[in-house]
């Protein structure tokens, strides 16, 4: 007798589109780029700053580009049910933030240094949305001087010569610079999942 497989209908994901030039400025809420506290309670861990500039191929800085980040807490735990350790997640840390670039193309986040999640080096997930980007651009920021980077599966997925473009520079203690170039010389590696 033939085995019957349950047929599950699979819907096709909707097509992406650009965010366009008119994303409401009020959607970049005051404080949305500060992950170091949640509802006035300070998150556990070391407060750090991540800042940088976003440029297009000819080097022009991009104004009003939306940057979002997602990261684990100081112990490397994600505030999400899929993380087996989520019950131990820091209740004072949300893990997500949003910023928009200014006229010089600069964005900045205040957050805490993420711990290394299971099987990964410590890192921050980054996505970019902008006029002229028909799809969200996704990348990952790594921290300098981390031995674990070399074993990280996402870091290793990137061709060797381009890996250093995913590593932030520590400009001062706890102050990281992560510049993004959308195209051309020193182009940031982006992922297609």
């Amino acid at each position: 007798m033939k085995k019957r497989k349950a047929v599950r209908r699979r819907l096709i994901p909707s097509g992406e589109a650009t965010i366009g030039p008119f994303f409401p400025p009020r959607y970049v809420d005051a404080g949305a780029n500060d992950l170091s506290q949640l509802e006035d309670r300070k998150a556990d861990g070391e407060v750090i700053e991540i800042a940088g500039t976003v440029r297009q191929e000819d080097g022009t800085p991009l104004d009003n580009l939306v940057v979002e980040i997602w990261q684990a807490d100081a112990n490397g735990i994600y505030r999400h049910v899929a993380d087996p350790r989520h019950r131990e997640a820091d209740t004072k840390f949300f893990g997500w933030g949003r910023a928009a670039t200014d006229k010089e193309g600069r964005y900045a986040f205040r957050t805490i240094r993420p711990g290394a999640p299971e099987g990964r080096a410590r890192h921050v997930n980054v996505m970019l949305m902008f006029s002229g980007l028909m799809r969200i651009l996704k990348t990952t920021m790594f921290f300098p001087g981390e031995q674990a980077n070399e074993a990280d599966p996402v870091y290793r997925a990137v061709p060797k010569a381009r890996r250093k473009l995913l590593v932030a520079r520590e400009e001062a203690l706890g102050r990281y610079r992560f510049d993004l170039k959308l195209r051309g010389a020193h182009e940031t590696p982006f992922f297609d999942d």
Partner: protein
């Protein structure tokens, strides 16, 4: 419950560099995009975004005597995942032009009149059935400042979070029967005909409450489905 995300069919997604859309060749990667193994990092994501952002009401067409100008409409939006399971409790950010094709934004200062009674933006949570309702006016078409007369057809913008980082979606919804749909460079950047058709809302019979509003239904499918328990 673990969520699985697999690559999408390329033809159901827009080209990155779009003919006649002059910003796209400057801003999209030249190097090949990199496939990476999905880890917990990409298969988790912010799940209660409303804790970090302010919600905004779903009635943006004005109140009482102060009604926005244009064709009053109701949008019934449904958000599901690839299993067809409703995505409830997720934040949906909505923005659109007014009935004359003008946005509330400092970048839009060109051509069409402002409507003081039109709010232009709503940030809402889907209910447990994945539904939300928006009372608005049908957005007007507007010209894109290119040299060759490209007009955007009426459309509504959405930004949706979904269950995990890789289900995050930014998309646009179009209206049925619009003559400008056939020439729009953004809608037509999606190569697959059926995938384009799914970006167009459906006009449904008015519910009568209020009787003077057109009613549109639209479904958005986010990436991701539940992991199938492995078979013996």
């Amino acid at each position: 419950m673990a969520y699985v995300i697999v690559p999408r069919h390329e033809r159901t997604q827009p080209l990155r560099i779009v003919p006649g859309y002059p910003q796209t060749p400057w801003r999209n990667p030249k190097q090949p995009l990199i496939r990476r193994p999905p880890t917990l990092s990409e298969l988790t994501g912010p799940s209660e975004v409303a804790k970090r952002v302010k919600l905004l009401g779903g009635d943006i067409a004005g109140h009482g005597e102060a009604q926005a100008i244009g064709q009053l409409m109701h949008l019934k939006l449904r958000v599901v995942d690839e299993d067809g399971t409703p995505v409830g409790g997720t934040v949906v950010e909505i923005w659109q032009a007014n009935g004359a094709g003008r946005y509330i934004h400092p970048n839009d200062d060109e051509h069409a009149p402002v409507d003081r009674n039109f709010y232009g933006a709503a940030r809402l949570l889907t209910d447990e059935r994945g539904l939300l309702e928006l009372r608005t006016v049908k957005p007007g078409a507007y010209p894109v400042p290119t040299k060759d007369g490209w007009w955007r057809p009426p459309h509504i913008h959405f930004s949706i979070f979904g269950k995990v980082w890789l289900s995050r979606l930014v998309t646009q919804m179009y209206f049925p029967g619009e003559p400008l749909n056939g020439q729009d460079r953004i809608l037509n950047a999606v190569p697959d005909t059926a995938a384009r058709a799914r970006l167009v809302a459906r006009l449904v019979p008015p519910t009568g409450d209020p009787a003077n509003a057109l009613v549109f239904e639209h479904q958005i499918v986010l990436r991701g489905r539940k992991a199938t328990p492995s078979q013996p």
